[in-house]
Structure formats: structure tokens, C-alpha cells
């Protein structure tokens, strides 16, 4: 295979990963990294570096559309990001010391978790209309969002638990080069009880910042390789943007189920390869 063929194949694949990642809300990294490693035989560290860069691109590219619609809660985002940046720094420091097999196994487990959380996620989770958590009131995290019946207030729950979840999300982001979108949405959907659109857009707003914390460490260790990263970045970015474009028109429950199964299969393969030392 020549470099040209390799780059074109990588570009097409990254486009698909970005597209499906955006449509299902799972993010591109969770399929991109195993595919690079399992099919293209790219070293896992380079795959992680390329994925980390694409996380920043998709997070920044999609941010505009969402911010203008007024769903993003910047206060919640920045508050939770305190936990995520600390976690990301720890994760990125750890990545230098752990073995490739260890990374592969952890990655497989995170893929299982992401598939599970995405599979069971509901578009209209129950919004808490009662008392907010005292921290939420103190930090003025509660907000309003537009629904079909007009503007609805939401009251934020379980703030400390969400913050702790964000530390874990940060560690995984730094350790694996992914956005940890599934965990961030878990913190905001399930624990804080935010409306779906608020949690998805707020998560998207902060994902790039978390990735940037690990970027310094990834660059310094040579994980971000321009030759692998450029086709991946171009592909994922165009894929994610076309995904955001068709998102409104698609009923994507079935797609999400299919994708979750793909993620499960890839995750099993990663764990198997990691345990048998074939990476």
C-alpha cells in the first residue's frame, strides 16, 4: 500500500466514524481508535493522538450552532470542567507509564460502557421540576430552555456526584485520547437531570477544553503524528458536520442500536487483542 492509498482509506473511514459518531451521540473516537488499531495496524498511541485532535475539531465546529440556539449552560459547563481538567491531567500523566495492553483493555471496557449508556439513553428524560441541589442554587446553575410548550425551567440535581463523574471522564479522556462524551452526558443527564439538549450541547462545549489539557502531554510524547492525524482530522470534521446537519431529520433510535452493537464487537476485539498481547 502506498501512502496515498493509506491516506485516502483513512479519510473515508474517518468520515464515516465522524458521521455515525455525531448521529448517535457516541462521538467518533470510540470507533475510530479501535478501527485504526485493528484494521490499519496503526500504533495505539498514534490513534489516540489523532482522535484527541478530532475531539477538539468537532467540539469547536459544532459549538456555534448550539450556542446560538441558547441551549448551552456555560455555568454548568465551566463548573464541571474543573473536575474534568484535573482528571485529564492525571490521565495524560498516567498514559506514559501504562502498557499498550492495559490501554487496550481499559478502552474495550469504556466501549462497553459507552454502548450501554447510549443504548439506554432516552431523548426525553424526566426533568426535575422540584427543588434544586443546594450547590446548584448557590452557583446559579439552574436555567430555562425552549420546548414546544414555551420556556421551561429546570432544576439541577446531585451536583457533587456529577463533579466526581467528570473527574473520571477527564481521566479516561487523558488516558485514551477520547472525548468521554458518554460519561459527561451521564453526569448531566442522569445525575443533574438536565434536559437532553442542554446536556448534549453543554457536554460538547467542554469536551474540547478537556482534550486540550491532554494535548500538551500528547504532543510532548510524540503521540500526535501529522501524517496520520491529517486524514483523520479532515474526515472526522466533515463527517461530524454532515452528521449535525442531518441530525434533525433523522429518527436515529435504530441506528443507535446498530452502532452500539458495532461498538460492543470492536470493544471485545480490543480486550481480546490486549489480553493476548497482539497489539
Amino acid at each position: 500500500m502506498t501512502i496515498l492509498t493509506f491516506s485516502i482509506l483513512l479519510l473515508i473511514f474517518s468520515y464515516l466514524a465522524g458521521l455515525v459518531g455525531a448521529l448517535t451521540g457516541l462521538g467518533g473516537g470510540v470507533v475510530l481508535i479501535p478501527a485504526l488499531v485493528l484494521f490499519f495496524h496503526v500504533d495505539i498511541h498514534y490513534a489516540m493522538g489523532a482522535s484527541l485532535i478530532s475531539v477538539m475539531a468537532t467540539s469547536s465546529g459544532a459549538a456555534l450552532a448550539y450556542l446560538q440556539r441558547g441551549y448551552t449552560n456555560v455555568r454548568i459547563g465551566m463548573f464541571l470542567e474543573v473536575g474534568a481538567v484535573v482528571g485529564a491531567l492525571m490521565g495524560a500523566f498516567l498514559v506514559v507509564f501504562v502498557s499498550t495492553s492495559f490501554i487496550a483493555v481499559i478502552f474495550g471496557l469504556v466501549m462497553f460502557l459507552s454502548a450501554y449508556l447510549t443504548g439506554k439513553r432516552k431523548e426525553d428524560s424526566e426533568i426535575s421540576k422540584s427543588q434544586a441541589h443546594p450547590w446548584a442554587t448557590y452557583l446559579k446553575l439552574n436555567g430555562k430552555y425552549q420546548t414546544a410548550e414555551g420556556e421551561q425551567p429546570y432544576y439541577v440535581q446531585q451536583v457533587p456526584l456529577a463533579l466526581i463523574t467528570m473527574v473520571f471522564a477527564g481521566v479516561l479522556s487523558g488516558l485514551l485520547g477520547i472525548g468521554s462524551g458518554a460519561l459527561k452526558v451521564l453526569a448531566m443527564d442522569q445525575f443533574m437531570r438536565l434536559p437532553y439538549k442542554v446536556s448534549a450541547t453543554t457536554s460538547n462545549f467542554i469536551i474540547g477544553i478537556t482534550a486540550a489539557v491532554s494535548a500538551g502531554v500528547y504532543f510532548s510524547n510524540g503521540y500526535i503524528n501529522p501524517i496520520i492525524t491529517f486524514p483523520v482530522l479532515i474526515g472526522v470534521l466533515i463527517g461530524a458536520l454532515s452528521g449535525a446537519f442531518v441530525l434533525a431529520k433523522l429518527h436515529n433510535k435504530k441506528l443507535r442500536l446498530i452502532f452500539s452493537i458495532v461498538v460492543l464487537l470492536l470493544g471485545s476485539e480490543m480486550i481480546y487483542k490486549g489480553l493476548t498481547g497482539h497489539l
Binding site: M1, T2, I3, L4, T5, F6, S7, H41, V42, D43, Y46, I53, M56, A57, S60, G61, A63, L64, A65, L67, Q68, G70, T72, V74, R75, M78, F79, E81, V82, V85, V86, L89, A92, V96, L139, G208, I209, A211, A212, V213, S214, A215, G216, V217, F219, S220, N221, G222, I224, N225, P226, I227, I228, T229, F230, P231, L233, I234, L237
Partner: protein, 124 residues
Amino acid sequence: MTSEKMQIAIGQILRVGVFISFILVSIGGAQYLWKNGNAPMSFAMFSTLPAHFVTVPTIFLHAFDFSALGLIQLGLLTLVLLQLARVIFTTAMFVVLRESLFIIICLFILSVLIYSLFWYHPNF
């Protein structure tokens, strides 16, 4: 300026930044493929990245040599610095709103970012 207008401004800066990054990476990538596209694929080449492409400060210093790899790394660096800009503008928003607690929160995030991007060099 209201916080809503500032959020829209942040979004616009991000979009322009991503566009610039995309253009830089595409030009660098095309230039690289033009010169090396027909060479056989070898994974050994990934481990021989010149030293000036590896830390954020050194990429910054060498970014404007306009080599294929230099342009790609400059594009990637643009994306990273864009995240820094995002935090700086959000901090400014809270300064305008006079929210001291959130200013402290933003400054903390900013300092972790600056530390990891500019002070962390394990190999040097």
C-alpha cells in the same frame, strides 16, 4: 455586551478558527501527499518525528517554515489554542458579569491548560 451576545461571539471565533485549522491541515496534507504519496507505506516513519514538532512552544516557533509537516502541525496547534481562547473569552464574560466565583473557576481551568501546554516537557 450581554452574555448571550458574548456567547455568540465565542462561537463565531471558534468557527473561524476551525476553518483556518482545516485549511492549514488540508494544504499541508496535500503538499505532503504530492511529494511522498507514491512511497510505500511504512510504519517506521511515524517514529521519526523531528524534535521541533513535539512540544507546543517548539511547534509554535517552527510553524512558519511552511514545510508540509510544519503546516499540518500549525493547523493542529490552531485547534489547541482555540480551546485556550474559548476559556479566555468565557473568563472575560464572567468578568463583565462580575461573578467572582466563576472568574476563579475559569482562571483555575486556564492555569491547568497553560501548565499542560507550555510547561510540560518530559523529554527536554
